[in-house]
C-alpha cells in the first residue's frame, strides 16, 4: 500500500485534517520553509541583477523583478493613449477645423472649443480654403478618462493621443486645463486630401477643382 493511498483514505473519513502525517510533524516542514527562503536569499545575493525593463526577458539567476521607476521606465505599449496633442499643419497652425466632433463624442465632457472664422482677407492660402479654426481649444485632463473617443471622432486627424507621455503632476488645479498652445505639439502632419494642398502643376489649391469645397462668399 503506497503512502498516498492511505492518505486519501483517511481524508474521506475525516475531511477536517487537510495535512498529512509529514506536515503534522511540523519540524521538517519548518526547516524546508527556511531552506526555500535561504535559497532565494543566496540566489538574489550572488547573481548579478539584470535591469532589463522587459522583466520577463531578464536573463540572470536573480529573481528580482523590480524596475527602478524614475530612472528606468517600462516602455509603453504601441497604442498607448498618452497626453493629447493638437496635430499641427506644415505652417504650424492646428489642423483642427473646430467641428466640435471631439467635444460631442467626449463622454466626460472635458473638451471645450470656441470656434473662430478666418477672415476673407486672410492672405494665407492654406487658411483661406477652410472656414473655421479653434480660437480656444481646452482639454481638462482632470476630467479626461483617456478613452480616446475624441481621437476616433476627429475627421481631420487633428487630435491625437500618441505622445506616450502621461499627465504630468501640477501644483495647481488650473494648470491641468491644457490650452491650445500647450496642446499644439509634435511633428506636422499632412494628408493627400488636405484642402490646402496644391496639385503639382497648379497654383490653385486642391479643392478648387471641386465645387463642394468652394468657400462661401468667395468669388469662384
Amino acid at each position: 500500500m503506497s503512502h498516498s493511498e492511505s492518505h486519501s483514505e483517511s481524508h474521506s473519513e475525516n475531511p477536517k485534517s487537510a495535512y498529512d502525517f509529514w506536515e503534522r510533524l511540523y519540524v521538517p516542514a519548518l526547516i524546508k520553509g527556511m531552506a526555500i527562503t535561504t535559497r532565494h536569499f543566496l540566489r538574489n545575493l550572488w547573481s548579478e541583477r539584470d535591469d532589463n525593463t522587459e522583466v520577463l526577458e531578464r536573463k540572470t539567476q536573480s529573481l528580482m523583478a523590480t524596475v527602478e521607476y524614475p530612472e528606468q521606465r517600462v516602455p509603453y505599449p504601441t497604442g498607448y493613449r498618452g497626453k493629447h496633442r493638437l496635430v499641427p499643419r506644415e505652417d504650424g497652425k492646428p489642423r483642427c477645423v473646430a467641428c466640435y466632433m471631439c467635444a460631442t463624442a467626449c463622454p466626460s465632457q472635458c473638451i471645450y472649443i470656441e470656434a473662430g472664422e478666418y477672415a476673407p482677407s486672410d492672405t494665407n492660402t492654406a487658411s483661406r480654403v477652410i472656414e473655421k479654426y479653434p480660437t480656444v481649444f481646452m482639454v481638462d485632463v482632470l476630467r479626461c478618462i483617456v478613452c480616446g473617443l475624441c481621437v476616433e471622432a476627429c475627421p481631420k486627424d487633428a487630435l491625437r493621443m500618441d505622445t506616450s507621455v502621461h499627465t504630468s503632476p501640477e501644483l495647481e488645479r488650473k494648470a491641468f486645463l491644457y490650452a491650445k498652445e500647450r496642446l499644439l505639439a509634435g511633428e506636422p502632419t499632412q494628408h493627400p486630401n488636405d484642402p490646402w494642398r496644391h496639385r503639382k502643376s497648379s497654383d490653385e489649391p486642391l479643392h478648387a477643382h471641386k465645387e463642394a469645397h468652394t468657400r462661401i462668399g468667395e468669388d469662384p
Partner: protein, 449 residues
C-alpha cells in the same frame, strides 16, 4: 562584478571583526598595565558592548530590511543617497538609510499622550533596553590571553552565578514592555502589553528549564573562566591526534543537548517578541505596546529588539556552539608558534570566530522571522505550556539519568547525535509532493444533489 562586491563586503566584515577584537585586546592590555588589575573589564565594556553590540544592532536595522528584501525577491531600501560627486548615483547597499533613520529618530518629536502616566511612559523604553543590553556583560567573546604582560579576559564580568544573572535580567525585560503598554493609556498598547506579559512569562519557564540539562552536564553555571561552560566545550567527546592536529567530536552544547538547544532557541525567540512570536506587536492589527511612542523613545524599543537578537545569539553561541572555539583543530591552532609570539593575533582570530557564529545565528533568526507566519495567541500558549515545558522537564530527567550512568558526557553526546540524525532523516524522508499540494485539494466538493 556583484560577486566581487559581495566578496569584498564579506572580507570587510571579517577584517572589521578581527580589527575590533585586536583593538579590544590591545586596549585591555594597555589599561591593565597603566591602571589596576582587572581594568580590562572597562575596556571590554566599551568595545564589546558599546561598540560591537551597538554597531551590529545599528547595522541590523538596515540588514533586516535588506535581507528580507533578498528573501522576497525585492531590492530593498536604496533611495537614500549621499549627494557628493561620484556617490549620488550609488545606493551604497542602502547604508545612507542608517544615517537618515538616526537623524529622523533623533529629530522627531517625542510625543507624550495627555492621559499617559508620564513617569512610567518615559521609563518603559529604558527598562526594555537596559536589562537586555546588560545581559551581554557575562558573554565571553574571546580567550583569556597575556597582552603586554597582563592577563586580559575578553569578558566584562564573570560572576559565579552566570546563568542566574541571565535569567534574572531576561525576566526584567518584560517590565519595559508591560509598562509601555499600560502607561501610554491606549487600548491597543494595553492589549499588546498584556499579550507580552502572558507570552514572556510562559516562555520564561521554558527558557530556564531548557538550560538545566546543560548546567548538569557541565556542572557549572559560570559562562567564562577555566571551568566555565564555554571552556568545557573545547574538550572532545571522542577525539584523536593526527600529527598534532586534533580531530574529533567536540563537547559542544548542541551535540550533548540538542533538545535543550531547540527549546532555548524557541524560548529566546519568543523573548525577543519577533515573528512568529510577535503577538505583542501584531503590526497589521494592534501595532503593539509601543503604539504611542515616537522619536527616539520608539527608537529605543526598536534598537532593544535588535540588541536582544544579538545578545541571545551570543548566549546561544556561548552555551551551545562552543563560543569562540573551533569545532576541530583548536588545540593545534592555539599551539602554532606564531601565536605564541603574538597572542593577540590568536585572540583576535578567535574573537572573529565567535562573532561570525553570532552573525550566522542572527541570520537564522532573520530567516525564521521572514519565513514563518505569526502564531495565534492560543497556539503560542499551547507551544509554551504543552510542548516546550514538558519537553524541558523530560530533557532534564533524561540528561540526569545519562549523567548518572556516565559522567564523561559521552552517552549524552551519543544520544544527542542520534537525535540530530533523527531530525535529519525526518527532513530528508518527508515526501516532497505533500508539501507542494494545495491545501484542501483532496477534499470532496460539496454536492448540491
Amino acid at each position: 562584478m556583484r560577486r566581487l562586491t559581495i566578496t569584498v563586503a564579506f572580507l570587510t566584515i571579517f577584517a572589521s571583526l578581527f580589527g575590533g577584537m585586536a583593538a579590544a585586546y590591545a586596549l585591555g592590555g594597555y589599561l591593565e598595565s597603566v591602571w589596576y588589575t582587572g581594568a580590562s573589564a572597562l575596556s571590554n565594556l566599551v568595545i564589546l558592548m558599546l561598540v560591537f553590540v551597538m554597531v551590529i544592532a545599528t547595522l541590523l536595522t538596515l540588514a533586516e530590511r535588506k535581507w528580507s528584501a533578498l528573501m522576497q525577491n525585492r531590492v530593498g531600501p536604496n533611495r537614500a543617497r549621499i549627494h557628493l560627486p561620484g556617490l549620488s548615483s550609488r545606493s551604497l547597499a542602502g547604508i545612507p538609510h542608517i544615517i537618515a533613520d538616526v537623524v529622523k529618530m533623533l529629530t522627531k518629536e517625542s510625543f507624550t499622550p495627555k492621559a499617559a502616566n508620564r513617569f512610567f511612559y518615559a521609563l518603559a523604553p529604558i527598562l526594555s533596553f537596559a536589562p537586555i543590553f546588560a545581559l551581554f556583560a557575562i558573554v565571553p567573546a574571546g580567550p583569556t590571553l597575556p597582552v603586554f604582560g597582563h592577563e586580559v579576559a575578553m569578558v566584562v564580568a564573570n560572576p559565579s552565578f552566570g546563568l542566574l544573572y541571565l535569567f534574572a535580567l531576561a525576566s526584567l525585560a518584560v517590565f519595559g514592555t508591560v509598562l509601555a503598554g499600560w502607561a501610554s493609556n491606549n487600548k491597543f498598547s494595553l492589549l499588546g502589553g498584556i499579550r507580552a506579559c502572558a507570552q514572556m512569562i510562559s516562555y520564561e519557564i521554558a527558557l530556564g528549564l531548557s538550560l538545566v540539562g546543560l548546567m548538569m552536564a557541565f556542572a557549572s553555571i559560570q559562562l567564562a573562566g577555566d571551568s566555565g561552560m564555554m571552556e568545557q566545550q573545547a574538550q572532545y567527546l571522542w577525539g584523536i591526534q593526527l600529527d598534532g592536529f586534533d580531530v574529533g567530536i567536540p563537547a559542544w552544547g548542541i551535540l550533548i543537548q540538542p533538545v535543550g538547544f531547540l527549546l532555548f532557541f524557541a524560548a529566546a525567540f519568543a523573548e525577543t517578541r519577533r515573528t512568529p512570536f510577535d503577538m505583542t506587536e501584531c503590526e497589521s492589527e494592534i501595532i503593539g505596546y509601543f503604539v504611542e511612542y515616537s522619536g527616539m523613545r520608539f527608537g529605543m524599543f526598536m534598537v532593544a529588539e535588535f540588541v536582544e537578537m544579538i545578545v541571545f545569539s551570543a548566549i546561544l553561541t556561548t552555551l551551545f556552539l562552543g563560543g569562540y572555539h573551533l569545532p576541530f583543530g583548536g588545540q593545534w591552532f592555539a599551539n602554532l608558534a606564531f601565536f605564541k609570539d603574538y597572542p593577540w593575533v590568536y585572540g583576535a582570530t578567535m574573537g572573529m570566530v565567535f562573532w561570525l557564529k553570532v552573525l550566522v545565528l542572527i541570520y537564522i533568526q532573520m530567516n525564521i522571522r521572514w519565513t514563518y507566519v505569526r502564531f495565534r495567541y492560543d497556539q503560542i500558549q499551547k507551544l509554551g505550556w504543552k510542548i516546550l515545558i514538558p519537553l524541558g522537564i523530560l530533557n532534564i530527567f533524561v540528561t540526569g539519568a545519562l549523567l548518572l550512568m556516565d559522567t564523561s558526557m559521552r552517552s549524552l553526546g551519543l544520544l544527542g547525535i542520534l537525535e540530530i540524525l533523527l531530525i535529519l532523516i525526518l527532513i530528508s524522508s518527508s515526501p516532497k509532493s505533500s508539501l507542494h499540494k494545495p491545501i484542501g485539494q483532496n477534499e470532496a466538493l460539496p454536492s448540491h444533489h
